[in-house]
Amino acid sequence: MGNNNKLPSATRRLFLQRTLLALGAVAAAPALSTQALASTASTAMATPKLVVLTAEDYHTLSVVTDTLIPRGGAFPLGALDIDLAARIDAYLDPEDAELMQGLRGALVFLEHKAPALIAQQSNFSALPAADRETLLLTLRDAGGDATAVFVALRSLCFFYFYTDEQAWPNIGYEGPLVKRSRPVYPQVRG
C-alpha cells in the first residue's frame, strides 16, 4: 500500500472524526506547560495585524506554510512571499469555534509535541527545514490524530496558496475572467 504500510490498523480505525474536529480533541488532550506555551511567544518574525490568529498561532503557521510550500524549486514563489499565514487568518471565521479550536490544537500539537516523533527536542518552528519536512511526512504516515493534523494543515495551506493570484503565474493558470472583490454581505443590526 505504498507509503501507508506503516500505519497500524488499530490506530487508523480509531481515527473516526472529521479532520478539524479531531484536531479539537487533540487540543483538549495533553495539557501543555505554561513554559512550553510561553516559549512560542518569542519570535523574530514580524507579526502583521491579525484578525483571528494569535501571534503564536501566526508564527507556527508561517513556519508550517514555509515547510509545505518552500521558496524555490519548480517555481520561485513560496508561502512566505505572500504571507500565507496572514491570508489564512483573513479568511478564518472567528465565530467558527470548532474550527478555531481544531486549528489551535493542531498548531500547539505540531509545535510542542510532534517533534518527539522524530526524536527531536526542539519546537517544530526551531527545526531545520529538512527536519520539518521529515516531521510532516512522519505525521502523514503515522495515522490517527497525527495524520489528521497533517491533512488539516496541508489542506488549509494548499487551498489558500493556490487560490492566491500571486501563485497563478507560477502554475500557468490565468485566473478568473472577471476582476471582482469578495462579495459584500449586508451589515444589519438586530
Binding site: 500500500m1 505504498g2 507509503n3 501507508n4 500505519l7 487508523r12 480505525r13 481515527f15 473516526l16 472524526q17 472529521r18 479532520t19 474536529l21 479531531a22 515547510t67 509545505l68 510550500i69 518552500p70 524555490g72 524549486g73 519548480a74 517555481f75 471565521d93 465565530e95 519536512e133 510532516l136 511526512l137 502523514r140 504516515d141 495515522g143 490517527g144 495524520t147 489528521a148 497533517f150 491533512v151 496541508r154 489542506s155 494548499f158 487551498f159 489558500y160 496558496f161 493556490y162 487560490t163 497563478w168 507560477n170 502554475i171 500557468g172 493558470y173 478568473p176 475572467l177 472577471v178 471582482r180 472583490s181 469578495r182 462579495p183 454581505y185 449586508p186 451589515q187 444589519v188 438586530g190
Partner: protein, 513 residues
C-alpha cells in the same frame, strides 16, 4: 417579489396559502407551479440572494457564500464531503449544468423493488418536456468542450468504449469554466434565473436569509411555519418568523428537509425518515500528461464528457458499475490531489496546465442514516452516518484501476488522487497497489454532490416517507420535492431528476388532480 433578510427589521408574521421551503431544483419548480395555479405562495430560502454580478470566480469567496457549510459539510467520520448549495437557487447555482434523466433501469428498479408503478417513463414524459423547455436543455456546444474533457472521448473512441457529451441547461455559455462558483454570465439556467423569477412575476414572495426551524400543526388543515431571519454569512438569528398556511412544500434538501420534519415532531409514524441515504461517492483523479498536451482544465465546460463503458445499470439494482467524467475549475481544491508536500508538491502544481482532472463516480446502494442536533441558536448540526459497503469498496478499486489504465492509455505519465496518503501511480504495472487503497477516514477525501434518500418514496409509511405524489404519509398537505425522495440514486447528476419528480407532483397538485 424577492425580499432579502437585511430588508427585514422586525419579527415577521404572514398568512399565505402555500409555503415552499427551499429554492433549489425542487423548490423552484414547486414555487412556479403553485404561483401559476394562483395560490398565494411564499418561498423561504436560508441562503443569501446573489446574482451574476456577485460571482467573482474564486473558490475561497464563492464556497462560503454559496455552499452549505462553506463546502465543509461532511459525513460524521469526515471521509466524504457532502456538497450542497445554500443560496437563492440552491444547488442549481453551483452545479456544472449537466442534464441527465432518471435512468430507465432506475425507474424499473423502483417499480420492481418498491412497487412505484406510477413512476414510469410515460408518466414522466410531460414533465421532462416542461422542464427541458424551461431550462433550455440541449447538447453541449462543441466550442465550449475543453481538452480536459475531450481526452476522455477521444480515448474512449479509440478503445471502442461508450462515451458521450452531456446535455446541459446553459444559454449563451462562453465557457469561462467557473460553474462551481456560480455563473458570472447568467448562462447556467438554474432556478435562480428560470423558475424563481417566473414565480415571482406570478406573485410569489421569495424571502432569502430565512431559515425554517419547525412546523406547527394548528387546528383543522392549518399549519404554522416557524422560522428565523438570519444574518448573511454568519447566519446568526435576527428575527423570528411565523407564517400560517394551508400547504407546505419541503425542498430544503436531503439533509435539512428531514431535520425540519423531525424537529416538528412529524417523524412519529415515519420510521424511514432520515434513513436510506445514498451519497454516490466519487473521487477526484488527476493525471499529468506530457508538457505538449495542454489540458487547460479550468477553461471551457468543466464537466462535459462522460465515459460510460462500465456503467452497470439494471432493474435489479438501479445504477451500478462506475464511470468517469471530466471536471475542472477549482485550483484550490485540486491542489489537494496528491500525497506530497514541499518541492515534490510544487513540481506537481507546476504541471497544472497539462494535468487532466476527472471524477470517478461509483454509485452506491442506500445505506446511510441521518440524525441532527440543534444549537441554542436554532442552527441544526447534521450527523450523516455513512459506511462504505464491502461491495462498493471492491467496485471502487476496480473502477480506480480501470480509470488509471484508461488514463495511461490516453497518454498520462502520473496519476494522483484526493488522498493525502496514497502515493502516485506512474505506470500500469503499479496498479496492484490499488488493492490496498486506504478507503478509511482521514486517508481519503471522497465527495458527494448528489446526496439523496432521507425521505424516500414508498407505498406506505412502513417503507417510505412520502407517497408517489410526494405527500407525507402521515399528514395532509405537506409535500417533499427535493432529492430526499429518491428511493435509490436516480442518475449521475440529480438536478433534472429532482425537477422532473417535483414537476409531476406539483403540476398534478396545481391542476387539482
Amino acid at each position: 417579489m424577492i425580499i432579502q433578510g437585511h430588508e427585514i427589521f422586525a419579527p415577521l408574521k404572514l398568512n399565505t396559502h402555500s409555503v415552499v421551503v427551499g429554492s433549489g431544483a425542487g423548490g423552484g419548480v414547486a414555487a412556479y407551479h403553485m404561483a401559476s395555479a394562483g395560490f398565494e405562495t411564499v418561498v423561504l430560502e436560508e441562503g443569501g440572494y446573489f446574482q451574476a454580478k456577485d460571482f467573482n470566480q474564486r473558490e475561497e469567496d464563492m464556497m462560503p457564500a454559496l455552499y452549505r457549510g462553506a463546502g465543509r459539510q461532511t459525513t460524521t467520520d469526515g471521509m466524504i464531503y457532502v456538497w450542497q448549495g445554500s443560496t437563492f437557487g440552491g444547488s442549481t447555482v453551483i452545479n456544472t449544468a449537466d442534464a441527465t434523466p432518471i435512468e430507465a433501469e432506475v425507474l424499473h428498479h423502483w417499480q420492481q423493488k418498491f412497487g412505484l408503478s406510477e413512476l414510469t417513463e410515460d408518466n414522466l414524459a410531460a414533465s421532462y418536456e416542461r422542464v427541458y423547455k424551461m431550462l433550455n436543455v440541449h447538447r453541449l456546444e462543441e466550442k465550449i468542450l475543453n481538452r480536459n474533457n475531450k481526452v476522455l472521448l477521444e480515448t474512449a473512441n479509440r478503445l471502442g468504449y461508450k462515451a458521450g457529451v452531456f446535455n446541459s441547461n446553459r444559454k449563451n455559455c462562453i465557457g469561462s469554466g467557473y460553474c462551481f462558483q456560480g455563473c458570472a454570465y447568467d448562462a447556467k439556467q438554474g432556478t435562480n434565473l428560470t423558475y424563481l423569477p417566473k414565480a415571482s412575476e406570478l406573485g410569489a414572495r421569495i424571502y432569502t436569509d430565512v431559515r425554517v426551524d419547525r412546523i406547527e400543526r394548528l387546528s383543522g388543515k392549518q399549519y404554522r411555519v416557524h422560522g428565523t431571519v438570519v444574518a448573511r454569512g454568519s447566519r446568526k438569528a435576527r428575527h423570528p418568523v411565523e407564517i400560517d398556511c394551508e400547504r407546505i412544500i419541503m425542498a430544503a434538501g436531503t439533509v435539512h428537509t428531514p431535520a425540519i420534519l423531525k424537529r416538528s415532531g412529524f417523524d412519529k409514524g415515519l420510521p424511514q425518515l432520515g434513513k436510506n441515504i445514498s451519497l454516490q461517492p466519487q473521487i477526484g483523479l488527476s493525471a499529468i500528461f506530457p508538457d505538449s498536451d495542454k489540458m487547460t482544465s479550468w477553461r471551457g465546460a468543466p464537466q462535459s464528457i462522460y465515459m460510460s463503458e462500465f456503467d452497470d445499470n439494471r432493474a435489479e439494482h438501479g445504477l451500478g458499475g462506475f464511470r468517469m467524467e471530466g471536471v475542472g475549475g477549482m485550483a484550490g481544491v485540486f491542489a489537494q490531489f496528491s500525497n506530497s508536500i514541499g518541492h515534490d508538491h510544487k513540481r506537481i502544481m507546476e504541471q497544472y496546465p497539462h494535468t487532466h482532472f476527472s471524477a470517478l463516480l461509483v454509485p452506491d446502494q442506500p445505506s446511510g442514516t441521518m440524525d441532527w442536533e440543534w444549537g441554542p441558536d436554532g442552527k441544526v448540526k447534521p450527523k450523516i452516518q455513512y459506511t462504505l459497503t464491502d461491495e462498493w469498496k471492491q467496485r471502487f478499486k476496480r473502477g480506480y484501476k480501470t480509470a488509471a489504465e484508461f488514463l495511461f492509455e490516453a497518454g498520462a505519465k502520473e496519476i494522483n488522487c484526493n488522498s493525502p496518503v496514497f502515493g502516485p501511480i506512474t505506470s500500469p504495472d503499479q496498479l496492484s497497489r490499488v488493492d490496498d487503497f486506504p478507503l478509511e477516514p482521514g486517508m481519503v477525501a471522497l465527495t458527494s454532490a448528489h446526496v439523496q434518500g432521507s425521505c424516500r418514496i414508498g407505498l406506505n409509511a412502513d417503507v417510505g416517507v412520502v407517497d408517489q405524489n410526494l405527500q407525507l404519509h402521515n399528514l395532509d398537505n405537506i409535500y417533499v420535492v427535493d432529492g430526499s425522495v429518491m428511493p435509490t440514486t436516480a442518475s449521475t447528476h440529480t438536478m433534472i431528476p429532482i425537477m422532473v419528480m417535483a414537476d409531476r407532483a406539483m403540476h398534478k397538485l396545481a391542476q387539482g388532480a
